[in-house]
Assembly symmetry: C2
Homo-oligomer: 146 residues x 2
DNA sequence: CTAATATCTATAGTGACTATAGGTTCAAGC
DNA sequence: GCTTGAACCTATAGTCACTATAGATATTAG
């Protein structure tokens, strides 16, 4: 029913000191303790931590993750703010998806070519360096800059 | 034709000290200098830097980026190694895509729900915390663990 | 030629972990 | 109930990838 910090670490793949760090910076709540002062976690903690770890691996900053978590921390409430957060994060996610799709296509192309034994010409940088797919919205003049 | 480091920074959105840092750690080559010792970059530099910045924003580590860059640094060569790198990176990219798609679906669901004025119940963590979509391949027992 | 702006190197600081040291608690086996 | 080794605790220091600052030099618009 309950997890020690080490069990939680094994469940999530998140290292023990990192779990304590997330508690320190407020991404994870302070869990209850045994009378000997050791942390005890439950299923909700496990899911929250897994979500944090996955989001970090996807490149979201702790602040962005805080925003995403705040969406689930406020059920049954008025949600103008939540809507704004969701929309903004959705835009970010969509830009990342576009970039990753392009990268995937290029890698597939290379794997395909490599079956012949040599790389005729690798266009990976050329195809992925343009601002059309830039993640930074301040920076995109749309598809036809330069 | 040529860019100063500041112009390159404006073109790519990458900060000036970061460009120098990438040179220091070997992600960017040492460019030619003016007789007054200032760096001058060209189009190839610009594209390479844009690629690095985009990849970083997508959450790739500098080492993974080094691998990706090495694919384009060795045209017309035998490519067993390049193929292995491309395949491995392709797997990573595909896992990230799956996670991002799930996150996108959840955010869209929330934006949709929010039009009604309240969040009935946010399932964002529940839906994105399972290991089915875990980025770490060492950690996935497939769809039915726990 | 001058003055404002940009660049140079070197160094220090920040954010997000990650590792270490020295001590305490837990739990399995006797 | 007692022992004992693994796991846990806090505090602190170190690493990685930037990011900012200081003081000196270079470039360039006027």
């Amino acid at each position: 029913m309950d997890y020690s910090i080490g069990q939680l670490s094994r469940e999530t793949g998140c290292k023990v000191p990192t779990i304590r760090y997330y508690e320190q910076v407020g991404l994870m709540p302070s869990p209850p303790r045994t009378h000997g002062n050791q942390r005890r976690y439950n299923e909700a903690h496990r899911k929250r931590l897994a979500f944090i770890c996955h989001s970090r691996e996807l490149g979201f900053s702790p602040d962005a993750i805080r925003d995403l978590l705040s969406l689930s921390d406020r059920p049954n409430q008025s949600c103008n703010e939540a809507d704004a957060i969701a929309r903004q994060q959705l835009e970010t996610v969509e830009r990342r998806l576009a970039q990753l799709e392009a990268l995937k296509a290029e890698l597939e192309h290379m794997v395909h070519q490599c079956q012949g034994g040599t790389i005729a010409s690798c266009q990976i940088i050329e195809r992925l360096s343009d601002h059309q797919l830039c993640l930074n919205p301040d920076h995109g003049d749309g598809p036809h800059m330069h």
